[in-house]
Symmetry: D2
Subunit: 100 residues, 4 copies
Amino acid sequence: MQVMVDLCVVPLGVGVSVSPQVAACQRVIQASGLNYRMHAYGTNIEGPWDEVMAVVKRCHEVVHEMGAPRITSTLRVGTRIDRAQSMDDKVASVEALLKE
Amino acid sequence: MQVMVDLCVVPLGVGVSVSPQVAACQRVIQASGLNYRMHAYGTNIEGPWDEVMAVVKRCHEVVHEMGAPRITSTLRVGTRIDRAQSMDDKVASVEALLKE
Amino acid sequence: MQVMVDLCVVPLGVGVSVSPQVAACQRVIQASGLNYRMHAYGTNIEGPWDEVMAVVKRCHEVVHEMGAPRITSTLRVGTRIDRAQSMDDKVASVEALLKE
Amino acid sequence: MQVMVDLCVVPLGVGVSVSPQVAACQRVIQASGLNYRMHAYGTNIEGPWDEVMAVVKRCHEVVHEMGAPRITSTLRVGTRIDRAQSMDDKVASVEALLKE
């Protein structure tokens, strides 16, 4: 089962700037070899369910290892079995409609 | 690593009523033996990370098996390593403050 | 337009315990007179769109006034125009299926 | 109060493809004049709280007018009072750390 997620990891108890923890998660995501795209409020990641969810878990582990006592993340989790659809496909289908 | 999630599974392409699919997910959650509590816009589930995430995956599988071609879920995912805190603890600590 | 939301307010830069801020939001919600129900990872609130969203805004204002420099909240936002459905209705329809 | 949101609008009861409704929301967002950026699982929007939330409401209204009987959206809602930070600033601060 393929999945596309949108992940936003929020460490608590580390002060007001969370960019070091977000950058650490980006390194975890990059190292996974999965397709991803960061935006200003999260990161899209696509791939096989178990691989994507292993990345989410690894992000929590790494951010705790950096010293964050507490983390609250949000995830959107999309699966479909009618056809394959990549992140690029989703954006392209909306952009095509916007050009009409 | 213990985790508390708040899960809301939304099947697409099955019409406007999604309660059969939500009920099927509740059965998956019940069968897991994990602590959980349903509310009007999702379900809190707590337990070991891998067990909780296996339940989330099984919910997607079951809802697809019921015929939903597409699913979009949302998850809040909370972990903390400073101390144990159950769903009941979280509610109780807020309610104690409200009674002051 | 009636709306049902599920709101989880997360203050950043205030340390690891966020229950004082969550309790302050509960007071804002209570004072609104809207129907609501707190759970372990957020609060369901239902009512007219503008009233519910005014409560969400007031929660951010109050938590900033308490000293939080930064807040990241998550909201699920449900509207339907085919029929009225309360928080109790949603839970009851799933529970009825679970008893079959 | 400035806000940055990440909005994902999900119409129910319209079948499996939701790109026409997503495109309609993009038109609402474009027409607002606010800064925004679409990604594969939502759209970042930034600006004054009331203007951004008016766009969210208008998206629900427009998607209902297109015939969707039910909508469930998810929003991340970020505010900060310590300093101004745009969508571009957030991405740039993470990317700077990744280049170190």
